[in-house]
């Protein structure tokens, strides 16, 4: 599996696959295949892919560690950036199609509607993460601070889930929401379980091998840092 995942074509292929939903939405907007309310379809379609990208990005570390698919590590940054990309697309669709880019209307709408406020907050939390997603940023911040900053993804996914929950609350239609919430709970639960199961810091210090293993990560400026 690792061999397959680290194939030279694997990452470009993932890139194209993740771009397909956006291409399909843009194509649908011009070909008029998005149904009776294409604006709504664009806003909702782009929003769906924020959650999907976030779930995929959060799945990288558990899969890598639990199944030993170490090659997956190279995918995490791209998936995170796609979450941000679809988030920006989602916001642009809302700001343009729903609000006609009227800045004062948008500001008033964000302040007035809690679910819009929470969605906007989720996007804003992702901004510094996307802005520091290149190798030099890790060197500049230092691995520890970079890592702490990128734990913001947990905040972003929580806000995104709340945003989607409120949106669906009007019709009490929580089927789809439960799938996303369940997956996120599983992926975060795994992290919690692993964090609790790890040896105490004092014990850790007596394992030079572990420290040696961690050192290159901290100093090597690898794009994909230690699992948050």
């Amino acid at each position: 599996m690792n061999k397959l995942l680290s194939h030279a074509a694997a990452r470009p292929l993932l890139f194209v696959l993740m771009l397909l939903p956006a291409a399909q939405l843009v194509w649908g907007a011009f070909a008029n295949t998005l149904g009776p309310n294409p604006a709504e379809a664009l806003i909702r379609g782009s929003g769906d892919w924020v959650l999907r990208s976030l779930v995929l990005a959060l799945a990288v570390t558990p899969l890598r560690e639990a199944l030993g698919w170490t090659a997956l590590a190279r995918w995490r940054r791209m998936l995170g950036l796609f979450a941000f990309f679809y988030g920006v697309l989602h916001f642009l669709c809302y700001a343009w199609l729903d609000m006609g880019f009227a800045a004062d209307d948008i500001v008033r709408d964000i302040a007035k509607r809690p679910f819009i406020l929470v969605g906007t907050a989720a996007l804003l939390v992702m901004v510094p993460l996307a802005a520091t997603s290149f190798n030099a940023a890790i060197r500049m911040l230092g691995a520890a601070r970079w890592k702490a900053l990128h734990r913001g993804v947990f905040v972003a996914v929580g806000l995104a889930l709340l945003h989607f929950f409120w949106m669906r609350a009007a019709k009490q239609n929580f089927g789809e929401w439960s799938v996303y919430a369940g997956l996120v709970a599983l992926l975060l639960g795994w992290r919690l379980w692993r964090w609790r199961a790890r040896p105490a810091p004092g014990v850790q210090a007596s394992h030079p091998a572990r420290q040696r293993a961690a050192a290159p990560r901290a100093q090597g400026g690898r794009a994909v840092g230690p699992p948050p």
Partner: protein, 268 residues
């Protein structure tokens, strides 16, 4: 189902009718699912014959009318109405039917009849959406007597010159063009005349969001979104700005006097 010309003021809007395909595939009819694509997909199970409508409550002539007799009660007219959904989109639909007032006159309401309650079919065997707890079933709506008697208030049996498709509320539904769409109850089985204001499904589900009157009003926002603008399905392009919503959905000249002196922010 042909409909003749209507002499009622405001019966035929000059707005361009929505494409039939859009009006029959983008529907809120929760008995068949909460997604707007659901009703067109799942409403095939609705059996519209035989069908009866029970008229009861404060009337001198309570009766249960079969659909065929009901359809012969008055001449069918074509009414091209704007439809404004509370969610912020709108359509223009050519309905076929006659004024509800025609029926009301024939059953002779008593002096106690101050309101009219409309009850929709709720049959689990035919309506998969009833499994959802989103609303109190059966779906119930209501009008004040003068609203129900207004000539624009339509008892509709068809649209686009044909009998109503199931997803649009077959075989008989209400259409109240100056109120948000959910006031226009579909697939009616009971019309009850009451002295007290009847409870309505959406009011019970979210009292602060949906009042009894629910008149289209751009100045009174829904607690969770603005009602000042709307998107006309199929006509306003994706990138077009939404159009302004009109007071009473553009029927102010015809119905404004019904609400003279009322605080419409309080009676929303």
């Amino acid at each position: 189902l042909p409909g003749g010309k209507s002499a009622v003021a405001g019966a035929v809007t000059m707005d361009k009718p929505t494409a039939r395909q859009d009006a029959t595939s983008y529907n809120n009819f929760y008995e068949f699912g909460t997604d707007k694509a659901d009703p067109a997909r799942t409403a095939g199970t609705l059996k519209t014959r035989p069908w009866t409508v029970a008229i009861e409550g404060a009337v001198k002539k309570p009766r249960t009318i079969g659909l065929d007799d009901l359809m012969k009660l008055a001449p069918m007219e074509e009414r091209i109405y704007r439809l404004r959904c509370v969610e912020g989109w709108s359509m223009v639909i050519p309905w076929v039917g006659f004024s509800l007032a025609e029926l009301i006159r024939q059953v002779e309401p008593t002096g106690n009849a101050k309101y009219v309650e409309f009850i929709t079919l709720a049959d689990k065997a035919q309506m998969p959406g009833l499994r959802s707890g989103v609303l109190d079933w059966p779906y119930a709506e209501g009008l004040r007597m003068d609203e129900a008697m207004h000539p624009l208030t339509l008892l509709a049996f068809g649209m686009y010159g044909e009998v109503l498709p199931n997803q649009n509320g077959a075989p008989v539904r209400l259409v109240v063009p100056w109120k948000y769409g959910f006031k226009s109850a579909k697939s009616l089985v009971k019309i009850r005349f009451t002295e007290q204001q009847p409870g309505t499904s959406w009011n019970k589900a979210a009292q602060q969001e949906y009042g009894f009157y629910s008149n289209v009003n751009p100045k009174v926002d829904h607690p969770r979104w603005s009602q000042a603008t709307e998107r006309r399905i199929g006509e306003d392009g994706i990138f077009a700005k939404k159009r302004p919503t009109l007071m009473f959905n553009g029927y102010e000249a015809q119905v404004g006097q019904l609400y003279a002196g009322m605080d419409l922010a309080k009676f929303y």
